[in-house]
């Protein structure tokens, strides 16, 4: 019998994440073997969140983590990976400065989520507009975990600011039932990728067949999240079961005039043959170079999300009244 294996490569960010995911071996879920590149580690927080999520499901005694020799290995200590896996960290003689990051964090309920957002986001000292986007994404995706994943573990979050690219990168991972099983309660689908496509489409939720959702569930969280990344000209990825969708960077020279309700119309890549991930992985980058205001984002989202009410002059149509 082999182990469930995951290898931390020298570089894995959303743009080149495919090789990392393709190399993940989920064949023996009772044991976990973590290996790493010997020389250098520079990885997106999603890599750590995935390892942490796998580690949480495995008995501590059945996790093997080879000694990290790469000089940048202290990153794993700083981000709390060893603590999360409950294994002894290597001796670290030198630390980088603290920087702006969110070490691996388990969020199990909405109270913890609210407290986390209240405390953590201001501490990151991000520009106000981007802080709004980041808070929005974290809230919507973590709530999705609580409401749809049936995960016993909750949501695992990890994020970091990368100075060189001036980008805030974050990941939210769960090991629940996955998107296909969740959305199939209302929209039976034949593949994980088809389920991902539906989950990114506004108005579609696994909680009801009714387009537009229920009183508590609009089916808009992932659409908002992808739209934030699109307008911000940043990467977004979602991986569940064998399905994988990655939003590519849009052309910088073209201003955004509208958003697509169908995620497959956006410039993207997709796979439906990746190693099976039990649950859902979401990762988003928010470029702090973007000058797009949150209000612009809402204006564009409003256009597609409301579908453009056909005739606002008709007698039945009501505008919200503001005083």
């Amino acid at each position: 019998m082999g182990n469930m294996k995951i290898h931390l490569p020298n570089s894995a960010f959303i743009g080149n994440i495919d090789a990392f995911i393709a190399g993940f071996d989920p064949s023996e879920p009772g044991k976990l073997e973590v290996t790493a590149n010997k020389k250098w580690l520079s990885v997106h927080p999603v890599v750590l969140a995935m390892v942490a999520a796998l580690g949480m499901k495995v008995d501590k005694a059945k996790i093997t983590c080879e000694p990290i020799e790469a000089t940048s290995g202290h990153y794993l200590v700083r981000m709390g990976l060893y603590e999360f896996l409950k294994i002894k960290p290597p001796h670290i003689s030198e630390h980088e400065s603290a920087g702006r990051f969110i070490p691996l964090k388990l969020i199990e309920n909405s109270k913890q989520l609210s407290e986390f957002l209240e405390d953590m986001i201001p501490a990151l000292h991000l520009p106000a507009e981007q802080a709004k986007s980041i808070r929005y994404v974290i809230y919507e995706v973590v709530r999705n975990v609580f409401e749809h994943s049936k995960s016993k573990q909750g949501a695992i979050l990890c994020a970091q600011y990368f100075k060189k690219s001036n980008t805030f990168r974050m990941a939210i991972v769960d090991t629940g039932i996955g998107i296909r099983e969740s959305i199939s309660e209302s929209y039976p689908t034949s593949t994980d990728l088809a389920a991902i496509r539906l989950s990114l489409t506004p108005g579609i939720t696994g909680t009801t067949k009714r387009v537009g959702g229920t009183a508590e569930n609009a089916g808009a969280g992932l659409f908002f999240t992808k739209s934030i990344a699109y307008i911000n000209r940043s990467f977004f990825m979602i991986y569940s079961g064998t399905g994988f969708y990655k939003l590519h960077l849009r052309n910088a020279s073209k201003p955004v005039r509208f958003l697509n309700a169908d995620p497959f119309v956006d410039k993207h890549s997709e796979r439906d043959d990746f190693p099976f991930w039990q649950g859902t992985v979401v990762a988003v980058d928010i470029s702090l170079n973007s000058t797009s205001e949150f209000q612009t984002l809402l204006n564009l989202i409003g256009t597609v999300y409301s579908g453009g009410v056909k005739d606002k002059r008709k007698s039945k149509y009501r505008k919200a009244r503001f005083v």
């Binding site: 609210s114 808070r135 108005g203 537009g212 959702g213 999300y305 409301s306 453009g308 009501r318 009244r321």
Partner: protein
């Protein structure tokens, strides 16, 4: 001047109105009972810096579905900043778009 019931959102939600569980509680315990009594309602967002679509959706979708879109003649949104105002408009328009789909 607002007459009728005033519901102070910030008092319950804090300055970031995000938690849809709180929105549901406001809806069930204050908004819907007032509307059932045919009272005018002001949803007062003073002090709220930001809101999620989830929060606004959980707050107003059910009343619109239950009482019809005309319920907006009884509800005003007070002291909304630009962001909150836009999210309210998105959700209200969305509900009417949904009606159109069902009509056709």
């Amino acid at each position: 001047m607002v007459t009728g019931v005033i519901i102070r959102i910030e008092k319950v939600s804090g300055k970031f109105a995000q938690d849809k569980d709180i929105a549901r509680e406001i809806r069930q315990t204050r908004l819907i009972p007032a509307l059932k009594k045919k009272q005018d309602v002001a949803l007062d967002f003073s002090g709220v810096e930001d809101a999620t679509q989830s929060f606004i959706h959980a707050l107003i979708t059910e009343p619109i579905r239950d009482f019809g879109i005309e319920v907006l003649d009884k509800v005003v949104f007070k002291e909304c900043n630009e962001t909150v105002r836009k999210i309210v408009e998105i959700v209200v328009d969305y509900m009417q778009h949904e009606d159109e789909k069902e009509d056709t």
